[in-house]
């Protein structure tokens, strides 16, 4: 089955109170549990924000050079995502709606390229 990325950029989250964010956690967890129960869940997680470590690995000189900070500064950056394994676009959109509703902010849906799967990683 094709895999889809349901993701949001940190800049789409919006300003909310601590209390509001606290109320979304259980809702997001419930959506993730629904994905697991439906057998479509691959992964879900939120990235650490500005206080988390960020580094980059550049191999273009021949040996990998690891340095601190992003490879490129961008106005928008990834906030978090879920990866789901579903039959088609319609199912991906349905789960995107479910997770967006739970989180309370917009999400975007993108499909992964098909690739040779050699493991149990997507089960």
């Amino acid at each position: 089955m094709p895999e889809y990325l349901l993701y949001f950029n940190q800049q789409w989250v919006g300003d909310h109170t601590e209390e509001w964010f606290g109320s979304r956690g259980p809702l997001a967890m419930a959506a993730v549990n629904e994905m697991k129960a439906a057998g479509v869940y691959v992964f879900a997680g939120g990235l650490e924000e500005e206080d988390g470590p960020v580094y980059n690995a550049d191999p273009t000189s021949g040996t990998p050079v690891i340095s601190d900070g992003p490879y490129v500064e961008t106005k928008e950056f990834l906030g978090g995502f879920a990866v789901v394994d579903v039959p088609d676009d319609e199912a991906a959109k349905m789960w995107a709606g479910r997770i967006a509703e739970a989180c309370g902010w917009p999400h975007e849906v993108r499909r992964f390229k098909p690739q040779p799967r050699t493991s149990s990683q997507a089960q």
Binding site: V32, V54, G104, P106, E108, R110, S119
Partner: protein, 120 residues
């Protein structure tokens, strides 16, 4: 164990021949096997730049689905690896390996904890 994202944007991929891409794909598959053997692999995938993009905005209370990206941006996520490793040193090590296997730069971010653990 801590989960890390090792990701690249499409814009960081140099112009490659079909041959270059095939070689990169072979290296990435070998690396995936190495990650699995080391017990650090959660997921790897490359996004399809030709696949349709959808967005969903639920800020009105009900999810509103539209075709196309939510926001136009200059940089686009190209693909990533998700790893579950002991520490930052290990994350750096695997980021270096992913960068070498692909042949283009990667950026590393840590996931928040606590979060619901995946079921394995």
């Amino acid at each position: 164990m801590t989960e890390y994202l090792i990701a690249f944007n499409d814009e960081w991929v140099p112009d490659l021949t079909e041959e270059d891409l095939r070689e990169a794909s072979t290296r990435v598959q070998a690396l995936r096997a190495e990650m699995r053997a080391a017990g650090v692999l959660i997921f790897t995938g490359g996004l399809d730049p030709d696949a349709p993009v959808f967005s969903v905005d639920a800020s009105s209370g009900t999810p509103l689905l539209t075709d196309g990206p939510f926001a136009e941006s200059k940089e686009h996520l190209g693909g990533f690896a998700l790893v579950d490793v002991a520490d930052e040193e290990a994350a750096r090590l695997w980021a270096g390996k992913v960068a070498v296997a692909c042949g283009w730069p990667q950026q590393v971010h840590r996931f928040q904890v606590p979060r619901q653990r995946r079921e394995t």
